[in-house]
């Protein structure tokens, strides 16, 4: 009976699904296709997590990222004991720092007598969430501990600053620099690419030659030259914007190419001609008819442009030409890992690179997913 009912229902459900597709908007179709792309969905979730960290860096960090103390330099990541007497109650041992009499290297011995419990939503450094909500609770922390015996999840750098907290703030800088820079590139790319594709002729040739020239110049030496010219006495914010502008100077070319390609192929579509014949103005044709049909491609190209920007910023800062301390970004953190000897002694300095790689991978997966979803013919 059940089987019969299923057979009877089958054509009904199929036509329902077809009906659904027939009336679905372009965005719904895209969303359905995107959902099928498991890697892309995974990448998107990872990115959401990254941007949550960027937004609430102070909440995820448990220490002041600038708080240095020579007494605890280059501490190894602490191991967390998850269970105490068979109960879930994570704790750590306090560390005692001494100097090795032979090598003069600082060594840290866990003091097994003291147990420092890790509390979730514990009170710690006061801060203002999102810039206006005063708070003092952090995701987790060791409550009421003295300096020197607090938590060091990822160890400390040469100046004794907590790497975990620094990484949280670095995520904020590096992930937003990608967005700001891609925003600038997008404006340049859409305007110049659009002009190039819509008007064609001499303007098109000139813009295309400029793009070709820019793309054939090795970017890093050029960026280095421009970044080195940023005055030393500029504030962190000024340098931040100078670097985003320098990076987007080259970044717009790829976006312009995509936009131009779509403009050229769309110009010959019937609906554009129809709009022209009806007497729509140029502006209306572009923004009302053409832009909606290729905006998904622009989103895809934009997503794929962000990882390149993140890598550029990281590279420049790594060289010491991008953001400079006291600014904290992934590149600035990795600068400490430049010296191979230091790296062998304290390999945890390389941890921020995991964040770079994961973020770039996630952006690539998401971008690929959007691109495939946006173009059913690919």
């Amino acid at each position: 009976m059940a089987a019969l009912a299923e057979i009877a229902a089958a054509p009904e459900t199929r036509s329902l699904a077809e009906q659904r597709i027939a009336v679905a908007t372009q965005w719904q179709l895209m969303w359905w296709r995107f959902r099928k792309h498991k890697l892309a969905v995974g990448g998107t979730l990872v990115l959401v997590a990254f941007y949550l960290v960027a937004l609430f860096a102070d909440f995820f960090a448990y220490a002041d990222p600038q708080d240095s103390d020579a007494q605890r330099s280059l501490m190894a990541p602490q191991s967390i004991h998850w269970f105490d007497d068979g109960r879930f109650a994570p704790y750590i041992h306090a560390l005692k720092g001494t100097r090795d009499p032979l090598t003069f290297k600082r060594v840290y011995v866990p003091d097994t007598a003291t147990k420092l419990p890790i509390r979730f939503l514990a009170k710690g450094e006061p801060y203002t969430l999102l810039g206006f909500i005063p708070m003092e609770r952090h995701l987790f922390s060791v409550e009421g501990a003295k300096t020197g015996e607090t938590l060091f999840l990822m160890g400390t750098d040469a100046q004794g600053r907590d790497l975990w907290s620094r990484l949280m703030f670095a995520t904020r800088t590096s992930m937003t620099i990608g967005l700001v820079s891609v925003g600038l590139s997008l404006v340049l790319g859409v305007v110049l690419g659009g002009i190039s594709g819509y008007f064609g002729g001499v303007i098109d040739t000139v813009i295309q030659r400029i793009i070709e020239i820019l793309r054939s110049i090795p970017t890093i030496p050029l960026w280095m030259g421009l970044a080195a010219a940023v005055p030393n006495d500029w504030s962190v914010v000024q340098i931040y914007f100078a670097i985003t502008i320098i990076i987007s100077l080259i970044g717009w070319t790829e976006l312009a190419r995509v936009v131009r390609g779509r403009f050229i192929s769309l110009k010959q579509e019937d609906f554009v001609m129809a709009a022209e014949l009806v007497g729509c103005s140029k502006m209306r044709i572009i923004f009302r008819h053409m832009v909606p049909s290729f905006i998904s491609h622009i989103i895809a190209a934009t997503t794929l442009a962000i990882p390149a920007i993140i890598i550029s910023e990281t590279s420049l800062s790594f060289l010491g030409l991008g953001l400079r301390p006291p600014a904290i970004s992934w590149g600035v953190l990795l600068q400490d890992a430049q010296n191979i000897q230091a790296l062998v002694i304290s390999p945890w300095l390389l941890y921020p690179s995991v964040a770079v790689i994961v973020a770039v991978l996630a952006f690539n997966f998401m971008g690929d997913g959007i691109r495939d979803a946006a173009d059913p013919y690919l």
Binding site: S216, I217, P221, P231, L343, V344, P347, V360
Partner: protein
Amino acid sequence: MIAYVVRRMLLAVLTVWAISVLSFIIIHLPPGDYVTSYIASMSASGSAVSEGEATALREQLGLDKPITVQYAKWMGLILQGNFGMAMEWGRPVSDVIGDRLALTMVISVAAVLFTWALALPIGIYSAVYKYSFLDYVFTFVGFIGLAIPGFLLALIVMYVGFAYFGANVGGLFSPDFAEAPWSVAKAWDLAKHLPIPAIVLGVAGTAQLIRIMRSNLLDELRKPYVMTARARGLPEFRVVLRYPVRVALNPFISTIGYLLPYIVSGSIIVSLVLSLPTVGPLLLKALVAQDMFLAGTIVLLLGVMTVVGTFISDLLLMWVDPRIRLGKD
């Protein structure tokens, strides 16, 4: 065909000009000029430069003239092969750069060759055995390769080499050869040190090229002529290699146009990490010390070399693709 060559050549010349302007801008961006930094470096070493000497020096160098005149002068000097003085080194720029520029090119070319040698067979394999286990492996490795910035990969390679093999994998020469004049033994020493930087530099490009090759070949393999060849009983490897691969190769070669700037660019940072004697570390030092003549010249020469490389790849493309050779679009 000639029209194509001429067009490409004109574009190359135009690009070189644009690069020269950009390099000039780089030279002039920092506040102050050559003389200011010269005075600063002189007073740092204890000798003072008087006001009169400074103006005389400015006049002699043409720094008091408008910027366009200065640019023309700079270009004039460069065309005569005079790149100015490297301030920090107290020697002509061409002296300081010489060998290092050649080594930069050696490394970049090695990286391009490595990229091709790896991307071509893997790309073909991935397309022919689409969705096979190895195809997935290559896709995955490719994604990771794309996600790791060159300098990070270099750091990881250095770390692994140092921590687990106790070997310093950096440098291009063994200590015995570093200062020695060129000889066969030194060249062999260089060849032995070349693979690691070439691989580090080539990984990201390889990942990209594999994807391009795979999708190009997949497009070709769907076409009817492939089925015809198969129906006629051609052995499978001939069906694939003789026709579709040749067609798919086209965009592959044209990518060298942007592969080269990309690799030269990467070589700068990777050289710093692996302490390779290329222009990379020199450029960074020059920029930090505001030795702008040296920095500007390096940017200019790197740009010119990339343009020349791109031009050569255009000629190569013409040689491979009859559609371009015969002037049909």
